[in-house]
């Protein structure tokens, strides 16, 4: 059995889906954030796989930028979560519905 790129792509599809389902099902904003990280990692794995398949470094550069954006996103997102939870401990994502259309 030889590992080829399809294995990596299927694995990252599974990882992405697990993250997406967790984001839909969980109510704790912190856990939802972790699920976003899972999805980002799945995409990173796909980028690196295609970078390897096509022998092109651009995919790895994109992963580098995704890492930076993820770090910035976590800082701001956790700031928002702290601001919300400090007012109302035990708030879930359902309690923050003022932006609902």
């Amino acid at each position: 059995m030889q590992v080829d790129e399809t294995w990596y792509l299927v694995l990252s599809a599974m990882l992405f889906t697990i993250g997406a389902c967790g984001l839909l099902v969980r109510r704790n904003p912190l856990v939802m954030f972790m699920c976003v990280e899972l999805m980002l990692n799945a995409v990173n794995l796909t980028f690196v796989t295609f970078s390897n398949v096509l022998n092109d470094v651009a995919g790895q550069v994109v992963v580098f930028f995704v890492l930076v954006v993820a770090a910035a996103e976590v800082v701001v997102g956790l700031g928002i979560i702290v601001a919300i939870l400090r007012r109302r401990p035990n708030a879930t994502a359902d309690d923050v519905s003022m932006l609902r259309g």
Binding site: M1, Q2, V3, E5, T6, W7, Y8, L9, V10, L11, S12, A13, L15, T17, I18, G19, A20, C21, G22, L24, V25, R27, N28, L30, V31, M34, C35, E37, L38, N41, N44, L45, V48, S51, N52, V53, L54, N55, D56, V57, A58, Q60, V61, F65, L67, V68, A70, A71, A72, V74, V75, V76, L78, G79, I80, V82, L85, R86, P89, N90
Partner: protein, 198 residues
């Protein structure tokens, strides 16, 4: 079974168990630790695909900074209490999520398999990876030439994130002095830590 296969299977198991652990843990702290497990598995697969720099950055930035920030917020807010997962606040949401999940895995897997066949196949448009130089050298050359503008924009993004974190962590209005003393300390400490990370 070659070494590659063994590495892939073990890393894939670690990744999937960790990812499921993130979703199914009732305690956010356990979720964060499971997230670390997944991130390490992904780092192993990066090494297996010879993206050495990204594997190191993955461990340092994700496991070292992001997850620590998660744990820090969990501890700061004291929300590390187990959540009761047995109630389903929206009836039928979980079965629906399961169905959507299975469908999405199937769709994405088919897309992935097809993508390998139908991708343009243009090799090494930016710069080849197998030029005999180290991974870091190749990555750096592209990053500081072709992607220099994006790299600079990244620094602007980080500054914006720092400013955003400071604004978020500030108390919105300087209100009644009754709860000022204890809270102000907490606010200051928090601001400092978030700026540090970014």
């Amino acid at each position: 079974m070659t070494v590659d296969t063994v590495v892939f299977v073990v890393a894939a198991l670690v990744i999937l168990v960790g990812a499921l652990g993130v979703i199914f843990s009732r305690n956010p702290v356990h979720s964060a630790l499971m997230l670390v497990m997944t991130l390490f598995g992904v780092a192993v697969l990066f090494v297996a695909q010879e993206a050495h720099f990204l594997a190191a950055v993955q461990v340092i930035v994700y496991a070292g900074a992001i997850v620590v920030l998660f744990l820090f917020v969990i501890m700061l807010l004291g929300v590390d209490t187990a959540e009761n997962l047995s109630v389903d606040p929206l009836g039928g949401q979980r079965p629906a999520a399961g169905v959507v999940g299975v469908a999405a895995v199937g769709l994405l897997a088919v897309l992935a398999v097809r993508a390998v066949q139908v991708s343009t196949g243009a090799q090494s448009v930016t710069l080849p990876l197998d030029s005999g130089r180290s991974n870091i050298a190749v990555l750096a050359e592209v990053l500081f030439t072709d992607y220099l503008y994006a790299f600079e924009v990244t620094s602007v993004l980080l500054v914006i994130a720092v400013v955003g974190a400071v604004v978020m962590a500030r108390r919105p209005r300087p209100e009644a002095p009754d709860d000022a003393a204890g809270d102000e300390l907490g606010v200051e400490r928090h601001t400092e830590t978030e700026s540090e990370l970014a």
